[in-house]
């Protein structure tokens, strides 16, 4: 359960004491109207294409996931064993909702789905992902992305 009171005590204590990055202010970019949103997914689930290099302990880089990736080609190599994987093993959309975004685009609820999506491996200090994240921003803008959906694990 993601409700802290239902978690194992050790897990709860670990999460309560985990350092979080501090930011003095929160930026805000106005999103376009729903029908003009081109959405990319950024995951921290350690996802990648089957032929890609697996993530390892301390990985602070990312993998590129093409928008036309097939379900069988998307795998996970996150190092942690402390989250449920059985949902992903049954349905990739439980943590990478690509099919759901495609459905929304077909219905006109969003403008479109990005040509590329990205995954980090979240068991890494956030500050170490900053350089890669800023470089990703340019790549996404070149892809016409104007909204990023961040999905944790």
């Amino acid at each position: 359960m993601a409700r802290m009171e239902h978690m194992h005590e050790g897990t709860r204590t670990h999460l309560e004491n985990l350092p979080c990055p501090a930011f003095e202010t929160t930026p805000s970019v106005q999103a376009p109207p729903a029908g003009q949103r081109r959405v990319a997914i950024v995951s921290t689930a350690g996802l990648h294409q089957r032929s890609d290099r697996p993530f390892g302990v301390g990985s602070d880089d990312y993998r590129v996931i093409p928008g036309d990736v097939t379900a069988n080609d998307l795998v996970m190599s996150h190092v942690s064993t402390n989250f449920d994987r059985t949902g992903f093993q049954q349905d990739l959309n439980v943590l990478f909702p690509l099919d759901r975004l495609r459905d929304m685009a077909r219905r006109g609820e969003i403008g479109g789905v990005a040509s590329y999506h990205y995954s980090f491996m979240g068991a890494t200090e956030p500050e170490k992902m900053e350089t890669a994240a800023r470089a990703l921003a340019k790549l996404m803008k070149d892809d016409g992305v104007n909204v990023v959906l961040l999905v944790p694990v």
Binding site: M1, A2, N82, G122
Partner: protein, 245 residues
Amino acid sequence: MGGLAHYLEREGLATTQISLIRIHTEKIKPPRALWVSFDMGRPLGEPNDAAFQTRVLSAALGLLDEKEGPVLKDFPEDAAYMGESGPWACPVNLAVPQEDLGEEGKLIAAFKSEMNQLRNWYDLAVERRGRTTVGTSGIGLDELPDFIGAFLTDALPPNPNPAFHLGHSLNLATDDLKAFYTEAVTAQPGCAGTPDQLGDWFYGQTAAGKLLYAIRDKHARSDDRFLRLVARALLIPSARPQPPA
């Protein structure tokens, strides 16, 4: 995740995120976040429920219409799997007499027998779903039992991935093993299972689960630092420190 939101939004991209750990989101204050009550690993809640996943997704994207931020809202629904669940049992009887699992050789033999029993269900699952998450280790399913079982012996196996440390190969192999078991058992009628039920079954009722605890205990004081790390922290969830009685 919230840190990524800050970095990307500062570069001019509107972001919205799903939040699994509310206290972290409260501290980091990303531009827009939807807290959900689901298990870590299930940010969209319910597998194979497109309508539910779409409600979560729509709620997260809907935060982009808020006039001011930072925004943190709670998704109002629990996932169906979080409700009361009845008894769950794997119809394929994998029970191995406990007296057979005390010896290293018998435990490995029981583990291999178990994988054989589940193989047909796994193959059926792959055919039906059109996908499998098994394979990140690069070790074939026919070779996987020998590779993992070797860690319970005094002779470590050759490393099939020279680019990685042997411990990393073990980590990936045991992830493949767990995925094999889940994908196989959930293909059986009435066996969708909640995360807790599937975890209780794997770690508490299978020879594979017992084997992983034994490998952890054997290498928890290894002279090899990385193998020691994998054994202590990456084989068994911290919420399950001991095998169930």
